[in-house]
């Protein structure tokens, strides 16, 4: 079980009349000592798309089968696992019912079953997730995790059906999503990954799939504590403007608040290994008199009803501008990172809609923010879409020869943030 600590970064001094308190809270589980093999019970399901398009070219399905084998090989002994093949319906290909404990024998049988897969059929991601959900139901005590790989649009069900399934799966298991090739929709997979507290990424080339699957399994196996919630208390008369995970990726948690008491709500954060994450929290409070100090928020982490780690978000009203005008570095940095993700997504959308002016403006702003925030990887991806004349002013020109895979990579990775440089080892 992880031990949590929380630290607040903010300028608690507010000018007279100010009503919004901003803070970045860093939550650390167990001192971040690098990856370790977890000890808690775990359950893992690999869901691979075997629709007809996975056979065009055949390298896609072959790579998916190979990567699934690599994932299975990297499971810890004893972890309950299974493989689902997805088309317009879902089929448990190994085992045929429930999950089995990983061993040399079951791994070999699973890989044999995977090697029999043939492409054919449509795509209904919700059906795959529903089967995973009902299979995980017998493993409630375990940290449940799935990997979902697809290559196409979610055509064979309505968005409503998918949304309903996601609602049923929320909080039951986490799911990392990968799109192979360029015929899938970033928005589809982002919706799934976001609802199921997972990551989303593009694998343009089949060759890169195995390494990515290994990394996802290693990350899943390193989780030690499942179903961790961030608990936020706010004073009477206050309103939570937003609660946003800002590192390692941006994920808005505001709408996921589950009230536990009149002034206290829990926000789901999924399973934790030894890691640190940052949250940007904004709270609106009624302004008070100069010199008054109030607690605007009390942040803690909750596991199975047990509270651990605590950090305070304060507000002190002052007429001293030297105090109130200082912008906390963490808050400023992550405000920029959130704007960066938004600028990229809006810029790409405008570009697709043929609105070159808006696209140039938004992507130019994104270049400016990425350069300013130290997002080297994002800046590299942006350069695939725009020619940069001046990163400082954000002067860019849209490129005409844009590789679809590179554009999708920019879109999927737009929410990946960097931390304030030089803050922590």
């Amino acid at each position: 079980m992880s031990r949590f600590t929380a630290e607040t970064y903010q300028n608690e001094f507010l000018p007279v009349g100010a009503e919004e308190v901003n803070a970045v809270v860093t939550v650390t589980a167990d001192g971040v000592a690098g990856p370790v093999r977890g000890t808690g019970a775990a359950a893992e399901i690999v869901i691979i798309d075997t629709s007809g398009s996975m056979g065009m070219p055949g390298a896609k399905l072959r790579a998916a089968m190979h990567a699934t084998g690599v994932a299975i090989d990297n499971l810890r002994d004893g972890v309950a696992f299974g493989v689902i093949a997805g088309t317009h319906r879902a089929r448990a290909i190994y085992p045929h019912r429930g999950l089995v404990a990983a061993s040399a024998e079951t791994r070999a049988s699973a890989k044999a079953a995977v090697s029999e897969l043939k492409p054919g059929g449509g795509t209904a991601i919700g059906k795959w997730l529903a089967l995973a959900n009902s299979t995980f139901a017998a493993h409630e005590e375990a940290i449940c995790h799935a990997i979902l790989l697809t290559d196409g649009e979610d055509r064979d069900e309505t968005p409503r059906e998918l949304a309903r399934t996601l609602e049923a799966c929320k909080g039951r298991f986490q799911c990392d999503c990968r799109g192979i090739g360029t015929d899938w929709l970033v928005a589809d997979l982002r919706e799934v990954a976001s609802a199921l507290l997972g990551t989303v990424d593009i694998i343009p080339e089949p060759d890169a799939l195995a390494a990515d699957f290994r990394a996802m399994i290693e990350a899943a196996m390193s989780k030690e504590t499942g179903n961790v919630a961030l608990r936020l208390w706010t004073p009477q008369g206050a309103a939570v403007a937003f609660v946003r995970q800002v590192s390692p990726v941006i994920e808005d948690l505001t709408a996921r608040a589950a009230d536990v008491a009149a002034q206290t709500a829990d926000y789901p954060t999924g399973a934790w290994g030894r890691e640190a994450r940052d949250y940007h929290i904004a709270i609106r409070v009624p302004a008070r008199a100069i010199g008054d100090e109030m607690l605007a928020g009390r942040v803690s982490l909750v596991v199975d009803g047990q509270v651990s780690g605590q950090s305070l978000i304060r507000a002190i009203w002052t007429d001293d501008e030297r105090l109130s005008t200082q912008i906390n570095r963490e808050v400023a940095h992550y405000t920029g990172q959130a704007e960066l993700a938004e600028a990229i997504q809006e810029g790409l959308e405008a570009r697709k809609a043929g609105d070159g002016d808006t696209a140039t403006l938004k992507l130019g702003r994104a270049v400016q923010l990425a350069a300013d925030g130290g997002n080297e990887a994002t800046l590299r991806l942006l350069r695939n879409v725009v020619d940069v004349d001046d990163p400082v002013t954000g002067t860019v020109r849209l490129r005409h020869d844009v590789d679809v895979a590179e554009e999708m990579a920019l879109d999927t990775r737009s929410t990946k943030t960097v931390r304030v440089s030089g803050r922590r080892p």
Binding site: Y9, W233, P235, E293, M294, R329, G422, R423
Partner: protein, 182 residues
């Protein structure tokens, strides 16, 4: 946990800030000497010289702290770290109404910056009372703070006296000195 009354009159289960309105709760427990917290009674506080009758310290006092790496504290903590041999003690004058104590980083510049890995970035705060004396509050630090070997409750102001020894982190000692003139 017993309820504490906040300045607005709410009964709060938390002792640092009211769990209803968020107001800061100060002076929940009666402190006999406002200067240092020692039992009062006579005209002057026996511990720090606070003048009860005049309700102010007897003479202008200069408050300072001596920050050093304390090998005894380090031995008690038994952290798997290397003791900083040869680090010179330094004297920090308490000349601000508030001084934060914390581990220095490029982001945070606490007035009393400590190069001790077991100290939180925002670890504790010294604040000056109206009478010129100082009090300390642990800001809910990860590894806590002790005053004369007693652990401080987080986010609770504790008045300081000449000779108090604050310990925090893996080896840091902050000794309080009150120098009187006249």
């Amino acid at each position: 946990m017993s309820a504490v009354e906040c300045p607005q009159g709410h009964a709060s289960a938390t002792a640092d800030y009211c769990d209803q309105c968020g107001a800061r709760i100060t002076g929940a427990a009666a402190v006999p000497c406002p200067g240092c917290g020692a039992p009062g009674g006579a005209q002057f506080c026996e511990a720090c010289g606070y003048d009860f009758a005049a309700a102010q310290p007897r003479a202008a006092a200069v408050w300072e702290v001596v920050v050093r790496a304390d090998p005894e504290h380090f031995a008690r903590v038994a952290a798997e770290l290397e003791f900083p041999v040869g680090a010179a003690p330094r004297i920090v004058a308490l000349d601000e109404p508030e001084l934060s104590i914390g581990r220095s980083s490029r982001t945070d510049a606490p007035e009393i910056a400590l190069d001790d890995p077991a100290v939180s970035h925002r670890h504790a705060r010294l604040s000056r009372a109206d009478d010129g004396s100082y009090a300390i509050a642990d800001l809910g630090s990860t590894n806590g703070t002790t005053r004369n070997d007693d652990a401080l409750a987080p986010n609770t102001l504790v008045a300081l006296c000449d000779g108090d020894r604050i310990h925090l982190g893996a080896w840091t000692e902050i000794a309080v000195r009150v120098v009187r003139h006249g």
